[in-house]
């Protein structure tokens, strides 16, 4: 039985410029202890998806228009706020993209680190602080007893992200949502943080939803991948499948633009054009303006996600019609 099952999630923002359909009919399953990747360019709705699950969408302007997120029998989208609050930070934790702004600059790290324990568990301050030292040691912060009492500005970016990870995992949650946890960090630090998340996940048996815009990171990390574009899932499969048998031109294009896989000497491939404006209605395939395989019907026909092989889904009309076969050849890697 899945630990978390998100079904047909739709989250819109009612802005002056119109209704932004940030997340439009997204579904995925997370099994206990497994790692699930969500990949897509910036603005494709990855963060909004996670915030929706945890009730962190600013309302207004945001509004969850439909869907369910069943966690251990409870619909997180429909249950009352207090119930969700007690799950947040205790059974489902989250780490964010920017460690420089995600910690409160006015409070000592110790104070922030023990908050999940103080809120969710009957525990004395003394004990919570002891546990905080251990948790800092576990994320590889040396001299933890002293540095526990630092202010966030006394840590580097990478160290702060370690603190964030310690804070998210201190209550031993069943799910960790990591929203681009390495995007804001130096390349050298990125690998360390990834390694750390992997190790802690193994130790604690936590299921991880790993969000990134870099398919290269997914490869090393996730068992299953959901590719997001313009607020929708356009392809999903086991990681091996995603790379071995891409079924959506967007996935193929993303693979071409993985920095780590690109051949020296050639310029790095970037997908031409920009993601669509989500406040305008999108008839047909949202990727069609940028897709090299686009045909007139792509701009008209409604797209649906369809299962093409064992646990492998695609929203590409032409792939579904059998008109595209080896997208991997196009990737050229």
């Amino acid at each position: 039985m899945p630990l978390l099952s998100v079904e047909n999630l739709r989250t819109y923002f009612y802005t002056r410029a119109g209704v932004v359909r940030a997340v439009d009919d997204v579904s995925f399953l997370l099994e206990p202890g497994e790692t699930l990747g969500i990949v897509g360019e910036s603005g494709s709705g990855k963060s909004v998806t996670c915030y929706s699950i945890l009730g962190l969408i600013p309302q207004p302007p945001g509004r969850i228009m439909g869907g369910r997120a069943i966690f251990d029998g409870v619909d997180l989208l429909g249950c009352d706020k207090e119930r969700l609050r007690l799950i947040r930070g205790k059974r489902i934790s989250m780490i964010f993209q920017d460690p420089m702004t995600s910690l409160n600059p006015y409070l000592r790290v110790s104070e922030q680190l023990i908050e999940p324990l103080l809120v969710h568990e009957k525990i004395s301050r003394r004990k919570a602080l002891d546990q905080a030292v251990t948790s800092l040691e576990e994320v590889g912060i040396q001299d933890a007893g002293r540095r526990l009492h630092f202010y966030p500005h006394e840590f580097s970016g990478g160290m702060r992200q370690r603190v964030m990870i310690a804070m998210a995992l201190i209550s031993r949650p069943e799910v960790l949502i990591a929203d681009e946890p390495t995007t804001a960090l130096d390349v050298t630090v990125q690998a360390q943080i990834l390694e750390l998340i992997k190790r802690r996940q193994r130790d604690l048996g936590t299921a991880v939803i790993f969000i990134t815009h870099d398919l290269g990171v997914i490869a090393a990390f996730c068992r299953e991948v959901y590719v997001m574009y313009a607020g929708r899932i356009v392809e999903s499969a086991a990681t091996g499948e995603i790379f071995a048998r891409p079924m959506h031109p967007y996935n193929a294009a993303l693979q071409q633009s993985i920095p780590a896989l690109h051949q020296k000497g050639k310029p790095l491939f970037t997908i031409p054009g920009l993601p669509p404006d989500l406040s305008k209605p999108l008839p047909g395939c949202p990727f069609s303006p940028r897709c090299t395989y686009a045909e007139p019907k792509c701009r008209e026909q409604a797209v649906t996600l369809q299962t093409m092989a064992e646990r492998h889904q695609t929203a590409c009309l032409r792939y579904q019609a059998g008109e595209l076969n080896d997208l991997r050849a196009a990737v050229g890697v």
Binding site: R88, K90, F96, L103, P105, Y106, L107, V119, H149, E154
Partner: protein, 311 residues
């Protein structure tokens, strides 16, 4: 930190000197003299008075004489209150303004921060619009309108506070400072409410508030523990000058409630061309403002964790 405070204190000296010099020469430029208003006085008497107070000497000589006295903290005699020195007048009037001002300050803080917080938490809902429109009214309504309204309600209708005066008013339940303080306090409360709301909304939009929510903290902890400290910074920088302004006495409010505070004395001294009293009160006000600005700055710096060192 200490170094900064000390250097700021030393800055006080040139600031006050400029203030004093400007005021001194301005009073000389204004036509008329301290004794021209006294109708009975003959020219001979006026000449005698001017000679007695040294007003017949060249201006720069008067200036130097005054400066040399001020350095010794002697502000001279008041021309209006013949038997009193300027220091004595201030010592009599300031405690009254100080009481009113301090009470007004506390009222302003209590109402302002409460209203601003309620508004910020209920952004764009009834409990935002309601206190904020009241604050807008409070800001637009001058104290000379608010004062009489409050006097009408509390003094004339409810009869719980004296309508006017300061001494010997024990027959009403409320101290004579309360009504003037309420008038002033409501005006400042409106400003504080707006600053509080703005500051809190700024902070509530920050990433670390989302982190706090993601940890499952209850709303009151998010507001009071995570948002208040940063959210009140703009208020803190406003409080110093506001406190200085409040305790130096408001002429309008003191006039409405007929309280013999420093605000009234200052305006009277201007009308009477009581040069030493004008200069004395200006220096006094100047000192208050500089000191409480400094207090504000120090408080603000202390609230910034970057100014603190970890063990």
């Amino acid at each position: 930190m200490l170094k900064v405070i000390l250097s700021r204190f030393l800055q006080l000296v040139p600031v006050l000197w400029v203030l004093l010099t400007l005021t001194f020469f301005l009073t000389k430029v204004v036509p008329g003299g301290p004794f021209s208003a006294e109708r009975q006085a003959t020219p001979e008497v006026i000449a005698k008075l001017n000679e007695y107070y040294g007003l017949d000497k060249p201006v720069w000589e008067q200036y130097l004489a005054y400066l040399s006295k001020v350095i010794r903290f002697d502000f001279g005699p008041s021309y209006t209150y013949q038997s009193d020195s300027v220091t004595e007048v201030i010592a009599r009037a300031f405690p009254i303004s100080l009481q009113i001002g301090t009470l007004a300050f506390l009222i302003a803080l209590l109402i302002g921060i409460t209203a601003g917080t309620i508004a910020a938490v209920n952004k764009n809902k009834v409990w935002d619009y309601f206190p904020m429109s009241l604050a807008m009214v409070g800001i637009c309504l001058p104290t000379f309108v608010m004062g009489p309204i409050l006097a009408l309600v509390f003094c004339l209708q409810l009869k719980v506070a004296p309508v006017s005066g300061w001494y010997g008013l024990d027959y009403v339940p409320l101290h004579p400072a309360v009504m003037p303080a309420l008038t002033l306090g409501l005006f400042y409360a409106a400003n504080i409410a707006r600053l509080t709301r703005g500051g809190l909304l700024d902070v509530l939009n920050q990433d670390f508030i989302r982190t706090a929510r993601a940890k499952g903290l209850p709303d009151h902890q998010i507001i009071f523990k995570h948002a208040m400290r940063g959210g009140l910074l703009p208020v803190v920088s406003f409080l110093g000058p506001a406190f200085a302004g409040l305790i130096s006495g408001s002429f309008v409010v003191e006039k409405i409630f007929n309280v013999p505070g420093l605000g009234q004395e200052f305006i009277k001294s201007v009308f009477n061309r009581d040069y030493p009293l004008i200069l004395g009160t200006v220096i006094f006000f100047g000192t208050l403002i500089v000191i409480f600005n400094l207090v504000s700055d120090v408080a603000q710096a202390l609230l910034d964790p970057k100014s603190r060192r970890s063990p």
